[in-house]
């Protein structure tokens, strides 16, 4: 051999080797690798030789080598673990049918837990994107007086100044008013010489301190200077893009609102980054200047107008200094209350209790009036509950199947024990099996979760954007692993304690049969499964009933065939002429206006106010909901007037001081059923009007709420929505006629319309979505239960092969045998259905508390669900046992 070696061996291979090779063997292995390298280099060339050397070195990374490193104690443990792992895999593969059932069930359980975990993460992180969010609070109040018991989210506009004056811990205060409670405000601007007008649904007004409390990221403009000059607005990035496209928005002007409001010119002084979804306070445009209408503020006791402070007008947010607790606040409040609130409160026998809400709590825990739509904790609890149920079901499946198969594994277990396996080590090996299964299920579960989130409409269903990105939340990884290990250990607990306890001798002899006690426990488990599944089904059905009931209930006004068009500034002045033209069409029955559209969103009333009346017995006061309408609204909406008269046509008539009330109002004000001629005033004493009409109670609010006192006034000028009652046929032509009429007066705005009953259901949208989610979860529940049932039935059939054989010989026919096999389980179903009744009753009634109007529960459902359950169980057992029952008893008995 030529001793001249032109290319030396790669050191990298040797370096790799050094990572895991024990010192004792290092030299000889190195030598061999080098020798082979030169040999290969001679035959195949240096490059190939390098590859082979590196590959050979890597191949040394195997347990046979790794474990020869002197880890002393660890050698044994790893060896044992690997042995167990191998064993577990072998056992897993031996019974592919049952293993698949187990894995499927566990995967679903884990997948559901992960999704629920994501939802929890999302919901509980509401509003946490603001820096300082732990120090931000909203101040509301609980006001109690005669006829008034209100918990409001708002405060008086000057209360912020008071707080700053009296409490040194207050760093900043800001106030917000939401300007567009009904639909949007028209926004006009000029882009490239063209005038643009559109409807903006989300406009707020605030004072110059807003950005001190809520720190946003500014894309253009500056946080500290954006509200220094008068008439400035800040808009969000997506709004800027929508109006101006790619042109710079900073410095441009817009006009917002109707009539005189639209004369004011606002300058855009800042563009902020868009809000994340999980925040309760979202706007697209925020105007400055709330402080303009502030009355002068003097902390001097003599000049404090106590009564004014009881008027809650704005949302007040406070930024506290870091060391602060809400107890401090309540303590200090006494002084503030005494100075500012008590003088008037004592006069009116009223109490004012502040409600300080931490920012993070608002979305879920706020149950205050005049609040932004909030999430509902009840649903969150329901999801968590069902999620836990599903996990339980999966674990119970595993437990049942593992222990049911115990007689099969008895010989193996007996052998292990006879050979000296300690009980402890056996327990660990079984736990290891279940954890292994759990981990395999985890991978499948992740695939399921990603599929569901990315490809289905799940995110739309739950109204949130959920993404499964492990990198963004370390908590997610932790949570997922905890869930998986937890499920693995939980499901493995029972089998791992039960199986090693099998008496060794009978196990080895092959005569071991699962004892009665294990039968009993298994029966309990199955019953729990049935109870959970039936409970979920029954509750889902009841939920559906309630939702249906609410959608279809007669609200006291007409919902169908009413077309609604928003009143834009361009047609405001032409309304009478427009109405006339509409009515020329024989298919248009009636046209009426209202400032708000009933049932569309949660804030569909024009306001609430406390009004008083004087009578012989004294003063009565109540909080009224106020609705602004025109003279034709009742006719259009088929709302029934019981006494008195409707509003007179013509803008000059009935502009002020003329009211129509509903029956509830009339009763509560002490007028029983004749309010005509009675007068109402504000608390200050000014008489503001008298009642001219009494309208039949109708559900102007969603069926969540009972009917409250309603005050109807005539709109002083045209605004809001035009409601057009049309005939049910030839709708396209009617709509075309409406469009033509409107555009003939002004074509500035695109013609938009909707049907009243389409939007009507939006108020139940939240409930509907939660319902859909819960029913989806209930399907998962049912599926997992069926899996468990299938497995158990399959196993029972094989177990009792001999018994079936003997019975056949003794003369039983197939049907009888099948009934025999299923008898046990069917009884369990019946027992479960009895247990379900009280549980579901409690659960549903808790949920129904949300609604003032409740559907009457149809208890036939219990009966139906039980029958269906019995049927399914029977069918499953039938499928599994049929083969066995029909088989030749000789085959069954052959293996005796």
């Amino acid at each position: 051999m030529n001793n001249e070696n032109p290319i030396t061996h790669p050191e990298s291979a040797l370096r790799i080797l050094s990572w895991f090779c024990p010192r004792d063997m290092y030299e000889e292995i190195e030598g061999d690798l080098i020798q082979n390298y030169y040999e290969d280099a001679r035959l195949l060339g240096a490059k190939k030789a390098r590859q082979r050397m590196i590959w050979s070195a890597i191949r040394f990374c195997r347990p046979g080598i790794l474990l020869r490193n002197s880890f002393s104690l660890q050698i044994n443990k790893i060896d044992v673990l690997i042995h167990h792992l191998r064993l577990a895999i072998r056992i897993f593969l031996k019974d592919k049918f049952f293993s698949t059932l187990n894995v499927l069930g566990l995967s679903l359980g884990i997948a559901v837990s992960i999704v629920l975990f994501l939802i929890l993460q999302y919901d509980l992180k509401y509003d946490q994107h603001y820096p300082n969010h732990e120090r931000i609070y909203r101040l509301g109040a609980h006001v109690k007086a005669e006829g008034i018991d209100e918990r409001t989210a708002r405060s008086n506009r000057l209360l912020g100044e008071v707080l700053k004056e009296e409490l040194p811990e207050v760093e900043s205060v800001t106030r917000i008013n939401i300007l567009n409670r009904q639909g949007g405000l028209p926004v006009t601007t000029e882009v490239n010489g063209k005038e643009l007008m559109f409807d903006e649904p989300s406009v707020f007004r605030t004072d110059s301190n807003y950005f001190k409390v809520f720190q946003h990221e500014f894309i253009a403009g500056d946080m500290n200077t954006c509200f220094k000059k008068p008439d400035e607005v800040v808009i969000t990035a997506s709004m800027a893009k929508r109006i101006f496209g790619d042109v710079e928005a900073l410095g441009r002007t817009v006009r917002i609102g109707y009539y005189k409001q639209a004369d004011k010119i606002w300058t855009i002084s800042g563009v902020i980054k868009d809000f994340p979804e999980n925040t309760h306070l979202k706007f697209n445009i925020i105007e400055s200047g709330l402080e303009i209408n502030d009355p002068p503020f003097h902390p001097n006791v003599d000049s404090i107008n106590s009564e004014a402070f009881w008027d809650t007008q704005v949302y007040l947010y406070v930024l506290m200094s870091p060391a602060y607790t809400s107890d401090d606040f309540l303590n200090k409040w006494q002084a503030i209350d005494a100075k500012y609130f008590k003088p008037y409160g004592d006069k009116m026998a009223a109490t004012y209790t502040p409600i300080l809400q931490p920012l993070d709590d608002i979305h879920f825990h706020s149950d205050l009036q005049q609040d932004q739509p909030v999430g509902n904790m009840i649903y969150l609890y329901a999801f968590i509950g069902i999620g836990i149920f599903i996990v339980l079901l999966a674990c119970i499946n595993y437990m049942n199947l593992s222990t049911a198969k115990s007689s099969r594994r008895a010989p193996e277990i007996g052998m292990k024990k006879a050979l000296g396996s300690g009980k402890q080590s056996l327990i660990i090996s079984f736990l290891g099996e279940s954890v292994l299964l759990s981990l395999i299920s985890l991978m499948i579960a992740i695939v399921i979760v990603v599929l569901v989130l990315d490809t289905s409409s799940f995110n739309a269903l739950v109204d949130r954007t959920l993404t499964f990105s492990l990198l963004s939340w370390p908590q997610l990884i932790m949570g997922v692993i905890t869930i998986t290990l937890g499920i693995g250990i939980l499901s493995g607990l029972y089998p791992s304690l039960y199986l090693p306890a099998i008496p060794t001798i009978s196990a080895l002899k092959g005569t071991y049969r699962s004892g009665n006690s294990s039968h009993a426990f298994r029966k309990v488990l199955i019953t729990v499964q049935f109870v959970i599944s039936m409970l979920v089904i029954v509750c889902t059905i009841f939920m559906h009933n309630q939702l249906d009931f609410m959608r279809n209930k007669d609200m006291g006004y007409k919902k169908e065939n009413i077309i609604v068009v928003k009143v834009m500034p361009t047609i405001q002045d032409h309304m009478p002429a427009i109405k006339d033209q509409f009515l020329n069409n024989p298919r248009i029955k009636s046209v009426g206006l209202s400032r708000s559209v009933l049932g569309w969103s949660s804030s569909f009333i024009s306001g609430r106010d406390v009004l008083l009346t004087d009578s012989k017995e004294g003063v009565r006061q109540n909080t009224f909901n106020i609705l602004e309408i025109d003279e034709d609204y009742f006719k259009t909406m088929n709302i029934q007037l019981i006494k008195g008269r409707e509003f007179k046509p013509g803008l000059e008539n009935d502009r002020e001081g003329v009211f129509i009330v509903n029956q509830t109002a009339s009763k509560l004000m002490g007028w029983s059923d004749d309010p005509i001629g009675k007068s109402l005033r504000t608390s200050k004493g000014e008489a503001i009007g008298e009642v001219v009409g009494l309208v039949k109670d109708f559900n102007y609010s969603s069926l969540h709420n009972a009917i409250e006192p309603l005050l109807l006034i005539k709109m002083p000028f045209v605004r809001g929505y035009v409601h057009i009652k049309v005939a049910g046929d030839h709708l396209p032509e009617t709509i075309e006629h409406i469009r033509k009429t409107l555009t003939s007066f002004s074509s500035k705005f695109p013609f938009e319309y909707f049907f009243f009953d389409d939007r009507f259901n939006e108020q139940y949208q939240a409930d509907d979505k939660q319902y859909k989610l819960i029913s989806a979860l209930s399907y998962v529940c049912i599926f997992i239960s069926l899996l468990g049932l299938l497995g158990l039935a399959a196993f029972t059939a094989t177990q009792r092969t001999k018994e079936i054989g003997i019975r056949k010989i003794l003369g039983a026919n197939v049907t009888k045998i099948i009934i025999l096999l299923s008898k046990d389980v069917l009884i369990l179903v019946l027992v479960s259905s009895l247990l379900v009744i009280p549980l579901s009753y409690w659960a549903i009634h808790e949920w129904l508390q949300n609604f003032a109007y409740q559907v009457s529960l149809d208890y036939l459902i219990y009966f139906l669900v039980t029958i269906v359950a019995l049927f399914f169980v029977f069918l499953t057992i039938l499928l599994q046992s049929y083969k066995t029952a029909r088989s030749n008893p000789v085959d069954a008995l052959k293996y005796e």
Binding site: M1, N3, H9, M25, E27, E28, I29, E30, G31, D32, L33, I34, Q35, N36, Y38, E39, S56, R59, F60, R62, G64, I65, R68
Partner: protein, 109 residues
């Protein structure tokens, strides 16, 4: 048969050790198997088999000479022990006995 079975590969390696005598070290055993049996073996497999055989007491080993081709590293020479020889013999015998029972292959003796 001995108290413990030998795997097929281990048996092969053991036989090679017995055959190659003072040349019985990892790389050479591997290359001989490749040459004689036309069978690809990884160096790691050979080494592990050798270590296992040593654990079982069928071979013993000693560090031998270093050469330039090995970059100056010594080689570990394996020698078969009497126990190993005994096992090998009994395995071959057992195999031959079963072999004799196969009707198609009437091997005499």
């Amino acid at each position: 048969m001995g108290k413990e079975y030998l795997g097929e590969f281990e048996e092969l390696v053991l036989t090679m050790v017995a055959a190659l005598q003072e040349d019985a070290y990892g790389a050479f055993i591997g290359s001989e198997i490749k040459t004689i049996l036309k069978r690809e073996v990884t160096l790691s497999a050979v080494h592990i088999a050798l270590y296992r055989l040593e654990d079982k007491g069928y071979v013993k080993s000693k560090l031998g000479g270093a050469t330039k081709e090995r970059g100056g590293r010594r080689k570990r020479i394996f020698t078969i022990t009497s126990a190993g020889m005994a096992t090998l013999k009994s395995m071959k015998e057992a195999r031959l006995n079963i072999w004799k029972l196969v009707p198609q292959l009437k091997i005499i003796g």
